[in-house]
Structure formats: structure tokens, C-alpha cells
């Protein structure tokens, strides 16, 4: 079920009505049942997979907690990790691996007559797998003192519908305790939740869907457009994916906030990042912190010397790329970010020194950094968005060859570009204003102002949103 669908508009009020009408285990049961229904709306056949994931993680956690020897703890930990990664590997990477092997065999001169079975990817599998894994790893590491005893609580943790299909990826240590309290309806929380939901819908339906209308034709047929138009298309995509994913996250966080739960935040003005470490502190925070805690730090992080740090960064971002999608273009996207992170370690000190020597004003050096990070992020987005590496390279070449004689410049979308530009301006303005502490405090203390702002957000949605119930990009991951 999509958040931007009529079905969800009917589902949500029914859910909340019963949610606040119930208490204790009945409420948890309702949360799990409604979440399974939410998931089954897309494809009921994978409900078993979700249930199986919860069952395996719950039982493994329990066994790790009960085990007295490190060996047995390890056994249960690897049982859970292995079973989850097997399922993820099968559903997400089987087609990719088989196709890649077929290509390798073809290069070697062996023509294999193999038809890809076209295994369907269960929606949100990467998200609920990571949610489950963080639980058992934290128990193994002792970060969770006691494994969860109540399966209903655990099921609600893993499958609660707002975060189920596209995150944020929750941590058991933060969220399980919240599930053990019966949150009564709280007007202030609900108000804040609704604000987030409204802004999330704005990001998705206004910014992302409008930007998609401009970006899609350019990525689908780069050969028809001029270089300038392609560059604008890539910038539009950068804002499309931001609006799409940050919008989804904010709706999810807002919906949870109405229930009384705190999911934390997942995006924090990423295009204001001054370097790539900063970017990953702002973009998909729940994933980047997951990768930091369960991958980068176990690999040694930055504690084993500069060369090893660079290798660790590249390995981490390679796997982050692969997590996003089963395709070499995602791998390249991840590797590029790994290289950017590594390169930044080499460039940042000389850059600071040059700025100091040239007496460069702080805002100028910051603006240069910000624009550089944004431009390089856009280059990486080309690999993320295109169907394959060949297409991505073609697109990048077309962008820099300045082919002004191409067939189409705006392709009849001059006005769409204007609309997107206005929406991008609004989003950047709001993002910037929220970094100004006095304005933020003034706004947050002003109830009527907030209500007017929410009303204006609804009006902008009515006037500019796409109501085509477009899917969210991150559902495919």
C-alpha cells in the first residue's frame, strides 16, 4: 500500500481509531495485524517471508541470550545472519548473479542456454532484514541487555507499517522500549506528527513527482537532448530522489509520532553538506549509521592507519551500493562515494590551507565545498538512475560534450522546469530556515503560525502535487 494512495487514506483513520481504542497486548496485536495487512496489500505471498524473518530473529535472539558459551552465542548469531542473508541473496541478488555469470561465461566463449527465472523482489526486504539483524547483533554484543520475551512486541518492532517497506531502519535498543508503553493520544505529538506527514507529502508529491516528470525523459532518451538540458535533468533527479526518499521517511516518522513513537530522523538537509562525511551524516541516516556500526567499525574503521581506512571506506560503500540494488551501476555508485570519502581525506587539509592563504571568506569556501559535493553527488546519481553502466557513461559524455545541436532542448517542458525550480526553491528555503536557530525557536513556539504553515503546505500540495500515486523509488530496495 502506498502512502500516497486512496487505499491508505482509508486505512490510516481506521488504524488510528482502533490503535487509540486498544491497550496493551491487544494494541500490539492490532499493530502487527494491520501492518501485515498493509504489506499483503502489495503481495500477500510474501507475508510468510516477513513472519519467518521475525520468527527466526526472535528465536535466535532468545537463544543468544540463553546461551552460556560464546561458541553457542556465535552459532545462533550466524544462524540468524546466514538465514536472513540467504533469503536476501536469493530474492534480491539471484537474478543479478546468474546474469553476471552468464556474461562471464559468454566472455570465456561458453554459451550457456539459461533463462533468468525473474524472481520477484519482496518489497522492503532489505529494510526488514537489516532491522532484524541489528536486533540479534546488538544482543550478541551485549548492547541489548535482555532479549525480547514477547513475540508480539518483537513482531511489532520489525513490521510496524510506517517503517516496514522503506525504513527508517530502526534499532531495537531505541524502539523496543517504546513499544512497551501504552501511549495515550497526545495532541502535541499528533500535531507534530501531522506537520511531518504534511511536509513529507509535499516532498514526495510536489517536489519528487514533478522533478521526475522533467528528469525521466532525459534519462530514458539522453540522445535526444542538449547537454544543458541533460545537466538540468540530472539536477532534477537529485531533488527527485531527495524528495522521494526524505518525503517517505518523514511521512513514516510523522505517522509513528502520531502513535507516540519516535523513529528519530532519516534526512537532515543533505544538499547543505560541506563534505562527503557530512553528506552521509545527513542522507539516509538510519542506513549510514547501520553501516557504520555493523560494517565499517567491525572492519577497523579509521583505527588501523590511513591506507586501511581508505580500503574500509571503499569496501563499506561498495556494499552500501550493492544493498541499494542488484546491478553494477549501483556498485559503481557506491564505489564512487567510497572514492569521494577517501579523496576528501586527502584533499580537505590542502583545501583549507589554500583558503586560509588566500584569505577566502568563510561563506565563499563553504559555498565552493557545498557546490562541489553537490556536483559530485550528481555525477554519482547518474549511475544510480541509469539502467546500466553503458547508459550512464553515455549520459555523462553527452552532458560534457555540449551537444547543442541535439534534437530537443526542453522537449516541451520549459514550464515543468519552472515549476520544479520554484519547488526546489521552497524546499531549500525551508531547509535553510530550519537551520536558523532563532527562526526555528520562534516558529516552534508559535502554535497559530504552525497551523497556518501546515495549511499553506496543503494548499501548495493541492496546487502543485502529482496525484498519480507514483511509487516510491526506495521500494525497489
Amino acid at each position: 500500500m502506498l502512502f500516497n494512495s486512496i487505499a491508505f487514506l482509508i486505512f490510516a483513520p481506521i488504524f488510528y481509531l482502533l490503535y487509540f481504542g486498544l491497550r496493551g497486548r491487544a494494541r500490539l496485536l492490532w499493530c502487527s495485524a494491520a501492518s501485515y495487512f498493509f504489506y499483503a496489500w502489495w503481495d500477500w505471498r510474501f507475508v510468510g517471508l516477513l513472519f519467518g524473518s521475525s520468527l527466526v530473529a526472535f528465536y535466535s535472539g532468545k537463544m543468544i541470550g540463553q546461551s552460556t558459551t560464546v561458541g553457542r552465542k556465535k552459532l545462533w548469531l550466524w544462524f540468524c545472519i546466514g538465514s536472513h542473508l540467504t533469503a536476501l541473496g536469493f530474492f534480491k541478488y539471484f537474478n543479478f548473479a546468474a546474469d553476471s555469470l552468464k556474461t562471464v561465461f559468454h566472455w570465456l566463449g561458453w554459451n550457456v542456454d539459461y533463462q533468468n527465472p525473474g524472481i520477484l523482489l519482496p518489497i522492503g526486504i532489505s529494510f526488514f532484514t537489516f532491522t532484524a539483524l541489528s536486533y540479534v547483533i546488538d544482543i550478541y554484543r551485549g548492547k541489548i541487555e535482555e532479549p525480547e520475551k514477547d513475540f508480539l512486541v518483537f513482531a511489532a518492532y520489525e513490521c510496524l507499517f510506517p517503517h516496514l517497506v522503506a525504513g527508517p531502519i530502526l534499532r531495537a535498543s531505541k524502539f523496543l522500549p517504546q513499544l512497551k508503553t501504552d501511549h495515550p493520544f497526545d495532541w502535541a505529538q499528533a500535531g507534530r506528527g501531522l506537520e511531518m506527514v504534511a511536509w513529507g507529502y509535499f516532498l514526495k508529491m510536489c517536489l519528487a513527482d514533478n522533478a521526475a516528470m522533467f528528469a525521466d525523459p532525459r534519462f530514458n532518451h539522453p540522445e535526444l537532448f542538449t547537454s544543458g538540458s541533460l545537466i538540468l535533468g540530472v539536477i532534477a533527479f537529485a531533488f527527485q530522489i531527495y524528495g522521494d526518499f526524505a518525503g517517505y521517511s518523514l511521512i513514516a516518522i510523522g505517522l509513528a509520532r502520531i502513535m507516540g513513537y519516535d523513529f528519530g530522523i532519516n534526512f537532515n538537509k543533505p544538499y547543505f553538506a560541506l563534505n562527503f562525511s557530512d553528506f552521509w551524516q545527513r542522507w539516509h541516516i538510519s542506513l549510514s549509521s547501520w553501516i557504520r556500526d555493523y560494517l565499517y567499525i567491525p572492519l577497523g574503521g579509521s583505527q588501523k592507519g590511513p591506507r586501511r581506512t581508505i580500503i574500509n571506506l571503499i569496501i563499506t560503500m561498495f556494499l552500501a551500493g550493492l544493498w541499494h540494488g542488484a546491478g553494477w551501476n549501483y556498485v559503481i555508485w557506491g564505489l564512487l562515494h567510497g572514492l569521494f570519502l577517501a579523496g576528501q581525506r586527502m584533499v580537505s587539509k590542502p583545501y583549507d590551507a589554500v583558503c586560509r592563504t588566500a584569505h577566502c571568506p568563510e561563506f565563499v569556501s563553504k559555498a565552493i565545498s557545498m557546490l562541489t559535493v553537490f556536483a559530485l553527488t550528481c555525477v554519482a546519481w547518474v549511475f544510480f538512475r541509469e539502467k546500466n553502466i553503458g547508459q550512464a557513461i553515455y549520459m555523462l559524455k553527452a552532458m560534457v560534450s555540449w551537444q547543442a545541436t541535439a534534437h530537443l532542448s526542453f522537449g516541451g517542458m520549459k514550464y515543468q522546469l519552472l515549476r520544479v525550480a520554484i519547488l526546489v526553491g521552497i524546499v531549500l528555503l525551508v531547509d535553510w530556515l530550519s537551520t536558523r536557530e532563532p527562526i526555528r525557536i520562534r516558529y516552534q513556539g508559535h502554535g497559530y503560525g504552525r497551523v497556518v504553515f501546515a495549511g499553506v503546505a496543503v494548499l501548495i500540495i493541492l496546487f502543485t502535487a502529482s496525484f498519480a500515486a507514483n511509487s516510491f523509488i526506495y521500494f525497489q530496495f
Binding site: 486512496i6 531505541k174 522500549p177 517504546q178 508503553t181 501511549h183 495532541w187 502535541a188 505529538q189 500535531g191 507534530r192 506537520e195 511531518m196 532518451h221 540522445e223 535526444l224 507516540g260 519516535d262 528519530g264 530522523i265 537532515n268 562525511s277 552521509w280 551524516q281 545527513r282 541516516i285 549510514s288 549509521s289 553501516i291 557504520r292 541535439a406 534534437h407 516541451g412 517542458m413 514550464y415 515543468q416 519552472l418 515549476r419 530550519s434 526555528r440 525557536i441 516552534q444 513556539g445 502554535g447 497559530y448 504552525r450 497551523v451 497556518v452 501546515a454 495549511g455 499553506v456 496543503v458 494548499l459 493541492l462 496546487f463 502543485t464 502535487a465 496525484f467
Partner: protein, 326 residues
Amino acid sequence: MKGALEETTVLRGAFGTVRTAFDEPMTAAEMTKRPWVRRASYLVLFVAVVFIGDRLISFGAMKLVQQSKNQFVRMYEGKYPANFLFLGNSRVDRNFNFEKIREVTGKSCLNLGLGGNHTLIAEVLLKDFVERYGNPELVVVELSHSTANPYTMGEMGIFSYCSTNMQALGKIIDPTYAGFESIFHSLRFNNQAFWRLSSEVFSEPPTRLLNNTIPAEIINQWQHGEHVEMPIYQKNLEALTRICQYADARQIRLRLVIGPYWKEFRKGWSNYDAWKAALQKAAGKHEILDYSEVFFDHAEYFNDEMHLNATGAACFTRKLVEEKVL
């Protein structure tokens, strides 16, 4: 619990600490002073902002659009009487040189073709024109719009502000959206058309004639045996039958035309004959004038596989005049 919430809103990010912009509560004084009155006033204010804002936006947008020099707006505003009416999609908009037709025949032309328009929209436009101006001397319908998806309003939804026929069509095509539109009027102006029409308040609409030739990429694509099966929509065919009946009943001269296609595209159109037969059946006694092959030897007349460039449009127009179609 409040404590726990406040604590967890400060989240450790990937490499530092970040805070949400939404996590600070309203002041306690605000929420404790007669909370129900305050909540009710919030609700009233919110509803007022949304509904009054909606009406203000839609009124302002309508007034702006009404000033547009666009031909659709001028037709709906009663400022565009014309002798010849042209209906269809972008293959009307781009393939005819209306200035030339006016020069040669001395008749004023109204171009009501736009990319994405289908036959149901053409039917509404014809009725709306006749309701405002009476019978035109001639109606030319370019039939490729019957392959356009009839389950969308495209850019024409905006005209539901001034056309009950367009409103009724919107209700048939998407009753849910039309329902919301009747509550929130600004939804009518939520489309690309609004921005285009608004820009044409300040400047004359640009020429619709195209100036390119077919790009090499498209030529390559089609010369490697590309095939296409165009959809045949029953709803469009039924609308075509109704257009013919309407024209007959009002004794309006009607020309049903299939404009030129680039040779490779037309040859790759696998169900062309079936489509044409379905059109002929829907049109009844009205002859379908098929010019699809007329420029098979003139690839240079085309901007892309379906649209003529300015040279092609001039030649096509001349041909129609010479053959007394116009």
C-alpha cells in the same frame, strides 16, 4: 515517556549528532490554557486557511488564465470565432500551417490540437465551440488522436473552470479526482497547462511549427526493424462515431484525415490496417482521407517519426488546399 522521546529525538548520525527540526514541543502554557478551545481554534484556522486559500488561489489562477492569448482560452472566452476548426493531438498542432491556410483560403482557422488529446476531448471541444459560436464552416479531425489514452484529461482538465462539458468528461474519466476537484477548486489549475497558459498572458504563443529533421538515433532505431502496435481504444472510436453524428445532425462539413507519417515508422506500425478499418467502421459514411504515405519519399519533411517540420507542414497544407480538402 516524554523524557524518553526527547532523549531519542537526538539521534547519533553516521558520524555526529543531528536533531530534528520538529522535535521541540509547543510551550506548556499554550497547551494547558483551556486546551480544548485552543485545539478547536487550531482546527478552525487550519480549515479556514485551506478553504479560503483554495478559493483565492483558484480565483486568482482563473483570472490569470483568462488573460492568456492562448487559442484554447480565447475560444472559451468567446474571442475566437473561426471558419475552420481543427481537432486532434500534436499532429494537428504541429503538422498544419494555419497561417498559410488563412492566406490561401481567406478563412480563419482555429487550432484545437494539443499533444495527448484524445477523441473524447475532441468531441467536447467541438461541442463547446458550437455552443459559443454556432456551426463552423468546416471541421477537420486528424485521427491519430484515437490512439491516445482516453482515460486521462491531459492538459485539458484546466478548462473545467469554464466548460460544463469538460467538467462532465472529467467526472467520467476520473470520478475520484473530479470529486476532489469540486471541493478543492485549485486542483483544476494543478497541471502544466496552467503554467503554459499563464506565460502566454505576457507574450504571444510561440509558433507551433517545428524546425528539426529526424535525429540519427531515431533513424537507427527504426532501421533496425523496430515495430510498434498502436492501441485501438473503443472509447475513442465511439467518440468518433458521436462526432460524425453530431456533425451530420448540425450539417457541419467534416473532414476525417490521417496525416503523414515517416516511412520507416509507418511501415513498422504492425496493426495500421486494423486501426484504419476500425476508424472507417466508426466513421460510417464519412470517408477517411489517408495521407499517411504521402511523404514516404521525403524524410526531410519530418521533425521526428510522427511530426512534420515547417517545410513538411507547408507542403502538407498546400496539398490539402490543392485537393480541396480545405
